[in-house]
């Protein structure tokens, strides 16, 4: 059961990612990318990593993609007139992919596959213990890196100084 679901979802992920790369319209590309993130989250769930699945949805599909959308709309790259023309044909594939993901979620929920092997399941407690005990220094490095990425972005993004 899980094996079938895995292969189906893997195909969905690959199609979603390939379409995200090849799609001309940025908003459509983002929709495909969100699709691929969702099916990836399902794969993580099937691999008894519900926490990572949650992160995938909240951080990637949620926060990062919303940021992308926001930037696209702020810079007005969306070309709305172009996007609305052949509505159904454009949206058939993402709806199909999304439908597959939805069906797989329902299947998992109905069959009560909490996760294939509960004993291997990583709880949020285990995760944070490993993160802060073993990789505490890594977190410090990442936070420093973000600080300097912000410094660099602020420097390069400042108004031109013609002196």
């Amino acid at each position: 059961m899980e094996a079938y679901l895995f292969y189906i979802l893997a195909v969905v992920t690959v199609i979603g990612t390939v379409m995200a790369i090849t799609e001309q319209h940025p908003v459509h590309a983002i929709v495909y990318l969100v699709t691929s993130f969702f099916s990836l989250a399902m794969i993580f769930f099937l691999l008894s990593a519900p926490l990572i699945a949650m992160f995938e949805v909240i951080i990637y599909a949620g926060a990062v993609m919303v940021l992308f959308m926001f930037v696209i709309m702020m810079l007005d790259l969306g070309r709305p007139s172009e996007a609305s023309r052949p509505f159904l044909r454009r949206w058939a594939l993402p709806m199909l992919l999304g439908g597959i993901i939805l069906v797989s979620i329902v299947t998992v929920a109905v069959n009560h596959i909490s996760s294939p092997d509960t004993s291997r399941m990583i709880s949020i407690n285990d995760f944070s213990v490993v993160l802060f005990r073993k990789y505490g220094v890594a977190i410090e490095i990442i936070s420093m890196q973000l600080l300097f990425a912000v410094v660099g972005a602020l420097y390069l993004g400042r108004k031109r100084d013609d002196r």
């Binding site: 802060f132 990789y135 505490g136 220094v137 410094v151 420097y155």
Partner: protein, 484 residues
Amino acid sequence: MDTIAIPAINLAVIAPEVVLSVVAMALLLINVFVKSEQKGYLGYLSIAGILGTLLMLIPAWGSSVEGFSGTIIQDNFAIFFKVIFLISAAMSILITDKYLEREGCNQGEIYPLILFATVGMMLMASGTDLMTIFLGLEVLSVSLYVLAGFNRNNIKSNEAGLKYFLLGAFSTGFLLYGMALTYGATGTTKIAKIASYIAMNGVSSSNLMLVAGMILMSTGFAFKVAAAPFHMWTPDVYEGAPTPMTAFMSVGPKAAGFAAFARVLLVALPALKPEWSSLLWVLAVLTMTVGNITALYQQNIKRMLAYSSIAHAGYILVGFTAGNAVGTAGILFYMLSYAFMNIGAFAIIILVGKKGEENSNVSDYAGFGYRHPVLGIAFCIFLFSLAGIPPAAGFIGKFYLFSGAIQAGYIWLAVIGVLNSAASVYYYLRVMVFMYFKEPTEDFEWVKLTPAFVLCLLIAVIGVLVPGVLPGLFLELAQKAVLM
């Protein structure tokens, strides 16, 4: 409620990195209160920070401390590389101030960014976990992208920053994918544990996942050290970036890339040595040949030195291919002397440039040797060392790299290396021919030495000549720092 027991923190392991990052952040704050004309003082403060870090590192020599549950180690190998990074950062800072003033881009952010890039390199040299190495590389790269595009009003600098960013992010993907596959094959990211897992479970070259991981990681590192065929970004980025940053980028990050590369291949994957040494053989030959042949017909001296730095990555790969103690000691020695000769050469290039006009064509150097005899001699010393001509350190370094290859049985590799080295003499000598045998067209009256430049050039000349004339001490240090 459960509390997380935080294991004992061995701060001694990362003390140098901590000090340098704190200095960098303090400079970021001080920068706000410093007037634009006085940003140079930030440079002196950062050099003080670097000197403090150096003083901290020297007593640690000879001991090997591990910390943070085996993700970071400070051994001789790491300390040797850290000293190279700190020296190259300090020398680049010395020549930065005047250049930025001249180009009208006198912004204080450059010093914290240089220091932070140095922290990244130090983490790469001392990381014993693929995760730490990767994070160190990211810390380094993010700072370098900004440094390459630091001259915001110059379109070439913008191009360099963007190009480096896009290609760097692409190559990081390769590296990360390789690390993920290695993790998948061995179940750990700790370098020592990867090796022991392979030894215990008899995972060998038949394990495609591990081999693919090794190849992808090598690709990522080869990009960072600018080895052919992953060198395409180098000339454009080196040409466009502000010249002091080109000097910085061509030494430190290359050394850091080799440090991490060496630790991953020599410590984690010795079981795959037949595979990776044949891979590196091809890379070394390609890198030396492409670098040298392309450098032969470069008119722009910054581009020429960019291709020459590609060729030098090739020479170092020769010692790496050997994978023995002599070759590895050769890498360490060569990286140290390369720092001095390359930054010295770039310092002269900065001096010859004018505002908005870099004067970086080889023909612009016509008669320079007569107008400024001392600078001319210094430039000759650096170029001779780059070409590998005896009294300079470059010769001893190449000698060790190639003898390591011969000892390991790679006779042909050494032969190709020596032939390449001979070919490279042409383009270094060409600059000298222009300096001494052509009629001067300019009077070079704008070339003005500041104390910082004098200091930088003095350090560079000493650093090239002393290890060249008396290599014993430095080689002994390098041999003590070898990973095996």
